[in-house]
């Protein structure tokens, strides 16, 4: 499946609808990064949310940067505070 990548801030209600979820792939990631199915409906959604188009590498860099920042914040916590959560792990966008 082909994807497009963009950044957009989820404002809440109607940011994405049930109908849109049926029409194209959509997944959100740290840094307001969205992976969007590459079809007509996906393009329309990017326009609707005023998404800023990114390449996959650019999107990955944003996500990785967010996770690294979260890892640093986690590492700075005391052991008992760290026990409240798992250390964020870097992953690859599809």
């Amino acid at each position: 499946m082909a994807y497009k990548y963009c950044t957009a801030t989820n404002w809440g209600k109607n940011f994405f609808t049930h109908e849109e979820r049926k029409q194209f792939h959509l997944s959100g990631h740290p840094g307001d990064v969205w992976v969007v199915g590459d079809n007509l409906y996906g393009d329309q959604w990017i326009g609707k949310v005023s998404g800023a188009i990114k390449t996959q590498a650019e999107a990955q860099a944003i996500v990785t940067g967010e996770i690294e920042a979260a890892q640093a914040a986690y590492d700075a916590l005391s052991a008992d505070k760290q026990a409240l959560q798992t250390r964020p792990a870097i992953y690859n966008l599809p």
Binding site: N10, W11, G12, K13, N14, F15, F16, T17, H18, E20, R21, K22, L26, S27, G28, H29, P30, E66, I67, A69, A70, L77, D80, K81, A83, L84, Q85, T86, P88, A89, Y91
Partner: protein
């Protein structure tokens, strides 16, 4: 069949619009009660009485005060108008009333003075029968019928001497039985002498009115949840101690009310108002779904002849989806408006999707939650290293910050509605667990009885109530000694009781269902688990596993129609699985990964994921899962 097109030799139905899925139809046409005006009484009066088992199409009104004198006037209602009948032998105001239109009883009342006189109506005339022991008025209803009845409370002397006295009628004489706990004139209406409720009351000044409620089991009175709004001299209808409607009355002396409250056996809910205020002894008849309000005063002065009819309209909650719509899976039709051929395909949870909802005000994770997709509540949560105590309520269009928890915490659970909730367990001071339970009444939190075992990361009956909930599994402390527990406790509205343990000790598991029919979904045992156990009110049974082991996920629904979403292990996930009572099926993912979120929802077709943690930060995002009972596909040639 009219309006057909021919398609490859077969007739194709021609529709001007697409069939509407059942869920949408229910949204478009919700099942709600409302008051509508009925025919006026011939004689305006207050302190009037009616029969407890009357209906909006066959009711009886008798007695009352016209503003100048007590009256014995009797009228029958046929669903449209009132007709005059033979009067009571003894004119009186504020008598008790039981029975039906053709077999009624007028009990005691103020003649004046207070009379012990008791009369029975046979559909055409009144006959005197054995007297009550204690004369009184302001009886405001009664339990039973002509051959077996109970009255409780009332006023024994003017201006304001009220009694706890309760009497029972066996068809030939009255006997004193166990008293009310609080002296007052109180609305009580039920066809049963062993299952009723008395709500609100008029008492001596300066208090004037109260919101006390007591249930009657045939032997004694027991105090239960107060009314939302204190009042007296109201009208009422009901069929048992768990189905009762209270309408009108006065909330402040001289201030008639239009408020209507419904009792379902565990909570009072404010529902549609009367069209006009009725007070000072408004008559009431019927059930919680079909009732009549008549007479009383519409202001502090004049007596009223007005009648209002309570009825429900819309699609009933128990209406079967099958047959509601003309949509037939597999059917093909031509939409003459859009000019498209369409086909109807299967619906249900497998075709459900997540859509973004309105974000909560405060991002958080490991919070407690309760309610439905359209009316929910969230409380507390974790914002490392801090603890939230904020509470927010969702009314279907906006999240509103309301009163904080008494004790901020996280890793806890809730059950109930957006206006009546309990939350329990959790972690207050890392790593110590809490047994604390708090109850939300729509405006504030009150600490109530603790769990027997302090725990955190429990699972619970997500569709439980403030009087029936289940807390299972969890951990005694986290992380030190953070093993998993199999403990299970049941809440009955006043105390937690240990009941049957889970088969496999788990923490951070999801839950669904009620205190007597629940699911324990996934969790850590202590390794990540796909286990699923079903609770029948006395024991747990292992049922179909999840496809993917998970913990700290969202979950909602019932024992036979549930959904789990997101959760760990590793980084939070977006996986969603749907339970049909037999097995789990993977359905549409959340758009955004989330774990430790709040949950709301009633089934595998209607749920919400509330806030949570996306792997790098707490989020305020909400997603709503909905699935129609069928889907419509447009036919194309490509």
């Amino acid at each position: 069949m009219a309006n057909l097109k021919t398609f490859s030799g077969f007739p194709i139905q021609n529709l001007s619009s697409d069939p509407v899925p059942f869920a949408q139809a229910k949204t478009n046409n919700p099942y709600v009660g409302s008051w509508a005006s009925g025919g006026n009484l011939n004689t305006a009066r207050n302190n009037i009485a009616g029969t407890n088992s009357g209906t909006p199409s066959a009711a009886l009104a008798f007695g009352g005060y016209t503003g100048t004198a007590q009256t014995g006037d009797t009228e029958e209602y046929n669903g449209t108008s009132w007709s005059e009948q033979n009067n009571l032998n003894t004119a009186r105001s504020g008598p008790g009333g039981v029975g039906v239109q053709t077999a009624a009883m007028a009990i005691s009342g103020n003649a004046p003075p207070m009379t012990v006189n008791n009369e029975q109506y046979n559909g055409s005339s009144w006959t005197e029968v054995s007297n009550v022991n204690t004369a009184r008025d302001a009886i405001l209803g009664g339990f039973g019928n002509n051959t077996a009845a109970v009255i409780g409370g009332g006023r024994t002397a003017t201006p304001s001497t009220y009694t706890v006295n309760t009497e029972s009628w066996d068809g030939s004489s009255w006997t004193e039985v166990n008293n009310l706990n609080s002296a007052r004139g109180t609305n009580h209406s039920s066809p049963s002498t062993s299952d009723g409720i008395a709500a609100g009351g008029i008492v001596a000044p300066p208090t004037g009115y109260n919101g006390l409620v007591e249930t009657w089991n045939g032997t004694s009175w027991t105090e239960t949840t107060d009314l939302n709004t204190t009042r007296g001299t109201a009208g009422s209808s009901g069929t048992s101690g768990s189905a009762f409607l209270l309408f009108g009355g006065e909330t402040i002396p001289g201030s008639p009310s239009q408020l209507t409250e419904e009792w379902n056996g565990s909570a009072w809910t404010e529902i549609a108002d009367l069209g006009t205020p009725h007070t000072s002894g408004v008559g009431g008849s019927g059930t919680t779904s079909a009732a009549l309000a008549f007479g009383g005063s519409t202001t502090a002065g004049p007596r009223s002849a007005a009648t209002e009819e309570w009825a429900f309209s819309g699609i009933a909650p128990d209406a079967p989806a099958a047959g509601y719509s003309d949509a037939i899976v597999g059917q093909m039709y031509y939409n003459s408006t859009s000019g498209q051929f369409k086909a109807i395909k299967n619906g249900g949870a497998p075709i459900g999707t997540w859509a973004s909802g309105t974000n909560v005000n405060t991002a958080r994770r490991s919070l407690a939650s309760a309610g439905t997709q359209t009316a929910s509540i969230i409380a507390g949560g974790l914002l490392p290293p801090g603890t939230h105590d904020e509470t927010e309520v969702w009314n279907g269009s906006a999240w509103t910050e309301v009163a904080d928890l008494n004790t901020g915490r996280y890793y806890f659970k809730g059950s109930g509605t957006s206006t009546a909730t309990i939350v329990y367990a959790g972690q207050i001071n890392n790593p110590t667990s809490s047994a604390n339970t708090e109850q939300w009444n729509g405006s504030g939190w009150t600490e109530i009885a603790d769990l027997n075992t302090a725990r955190q990361k429990i699972g619970n009956s997500t569709t439980g109530t403030t009087t029936a909930s289940l807390a299972f599994g969890g951990s005694p402390a986290d992380p030190a000694g953070g093993g998993a527990l199999a403990i299970n406790e049941s809440w009955n509205g006043s105390a937690w009781t240990e009941v049957g343990d889970m088969n496999t000790a788990r923490k951070d598991c999801g839950g669904a269902g009620t205190s007597t029919a629940a699911l324990a979904i996934g969790g850590q045992a202590p390794s990540d688990s796909a286990l699923n156990e079903s609770w029948n009110g006395s024991a747990w049974t292992e049922v179909g596993d999840l496809n993917t082991a998970v913990f700290s996920q969202g979950s909602a629904g019932t024992q036979t129609s549930a959904i789990k979403f997101g959760g760990n292990p590793g980084s939070p996930g977006a996986l969603t699985e749907s339970w049909d009572g037999t097995s789990w099926t993977e359905v549409a993912d959340l758009a955004q990964k989330s774990a430790a979120q709040g949950s709301a929802g009633v089934s595998s077709s209607s749920a919400a994921s509330l806030a949570g943690y996306n792997g790098t930060a707490n989020i305020a995002n909400v997603e709503e899962f909905s699935a129609d009972d069928f889907q419509i596909k447009t036919l194309t040639t490509s």
